[in-house]
Symmetry: C2
Amino acid sequence: MTVTIYDVAREAGVSMATVSRVVNNNPNVKPQTRKKVFEAIERLGYRPNAVARGLASKKTTTVGVVIPDISDSIVAEVARGIEDIANMYHYNIILSNADKKKDKEIRVINTLLEKQVDGLLFMGGVITDEHLDAFRTSSVPVVLCGTTDEGKLIPSVTIDHEQAAYDAVKLLIDQGHKKIAMISVTLKDPATGYARYQGYKRALEDAGLTLDEQDVRIGNYRYESGMEAMGYFLEQPERPTAVFAATDEMAIGAIHTIQDHGLRVPEDISVISIDNIRMASMVRPQLTTVAQPMYDIGAVSMRLLTKLMNKEQIDQTQILLPHDVIKRNSVAQV
Amino acid sequence: MTVTIYDVAREAGVSMATVSRVVNNNPNVKPQTRKKVFEAIERLGYRPNAVARGLASKKTTTVGVVIPDISDSIVAEVARGIEDIANMYHYNIILSNADKKKDKEIRVINTLLEKQVDGLLFMGGVITDEHLDAFRTSSVPVVLCGTTDEGKLIPSVTIDHEQAAYDAVKLLIDQGHKKIAMISVTLKDPATGYARYQGYKRALEDAGLTLDEQDVRIGNYRYESGMEAMGYFLEQPERPTAVFAATDEMAIGAIHTIQDHGLRVPEDISVISIDNIRMASMVRPQLTTVAQPMYDIGAVSMRLLTKLMNKEQIDQTQILLPHDVIKRNSVAQV
DNA sequence: CTGTTAGCGCTTTCAT
DNA sequence: ATGAAAGCGCTAACAG
């Protein structure tokens, strides 16, 4: 039923080894023989079995990618970067959502390893010791994508979240703002959430401003939580003149809440955030934000992984990509 | 170096077959033996090799998914549905972007087939005879996701795009609109673009309205093209009082262009579209649109695929999921 | 309930 | 430049 390399060999009057050579572009084949083999392949409609090849060669040319939620636009953009580079190097990608749930992440990592992926890209939540263990027992390289482990043991590519937050808040300060609220995400994640909070804090401190814990609310990355947090700020006796949101989505939620209260952005309240998702320039006012190079984070981490898989010498395994503040229309002078 | 089933067998003092049985949850193993084997597995840190298993069993428990661009929010949402159900049935997913390019799609399909996926989910552009050929030579089931082939030969799950468009335009008509423009997408794709155009046309006809070809512009799915198309309509001597956009993103672009011209939505011009992406409720005014159940399209097509892979009897291989008009704030009476 | 034994379809020395 | 043959790690009859 299925045609194998053996069938092709017989059809072409050569040995399996020769067929294998032509299929794998081994130059040690006489052009004439090569031609015969190709013809036989064509005639039989032979399709190499990558599973058998994987077993024999111990390479699958597929990499495992664990992500939280592909329906998140940031993740999707990173995934696109990963895919493009993977494709360029002839790797396929097994994508697995793990929703930032530790147990699911561990399970998924193991499944991927069982499938004999040649490498692993991890984009998830907090990296625990259990993760580190799983990575350690992996015989294939791992790179962290958009995050880092605290000990910086695992190769990674991300941005400097602390500095990105600092830059955002600094912009507000430079515009004369003194009462700056923050809509944060969970502080439990040292690599992202907490880092952004730290950047906020440092910027305030550098400017001699005091951080009032009443001025920071914790959201959940999403639009609605931005609305909610902003609602809280608006009820306070002394309103902030500016708010820094840890994500664009929350910033857009904040903007709408401000507008719904009959106030204007940026005239009454300025809003800035981090990410630069596509939607940032599709809302009015357009969002001023610190761009995170999502596609590149994916692309560069995949590229790094290919080098690791090839056992190339790497000079730098902790890669920090530049961020960029994008001035649009949601920030004004106080 | 790597520990195999044979090592476990020796360690546990049983045969490979027995180890295989316990790993695969075959009930025909004495509890005690099972325990011994599990202990050996634990001690040795054995991880089953799914590639070897795949070769021996001719099943890989992975399905191939070809998509256009994972960074598209609709595609990402569908992908999420696919992944969730795949996960539920213990399948993994190899995701491949093909950007609606025919050649790339064909290439990707073949690669996936070489990898011996147990099934294929296809979400792409126009389905040509070449696609049909590729599907035909596939020994594994295929289902189309969010589209159909013209001959309805391949199992598929999608919505009735024609009717969805009809319903959208009908709503406008019911609100008294008579001059209704359309921002379409390419008419080259019979399953989606052209179908939506047809629905627009039929709704107008049913209402005794005449379709003026000047009232339809072709966009490219995206925000900017919606802006552009709307800009065109606004320059015409007789402006439409309502516009139907084939996608939410274009509708949002149209809304902003209208607003930028100092007009109001919906007071001056009503806007409706199809999709109901997350962003639809994150813009002001919130978008009235016909919801396409993206997650379900993914989930249901994956579910259908599992049945096909199990060779279960299927009553219905052409599945049409319901759409739903979501009334928000971008449509008003004329 | 358990063990033996063929493969699964390919790559990869090693000869020639 | 080509072929022979030994696996890769596992499953699946089959036998007992």
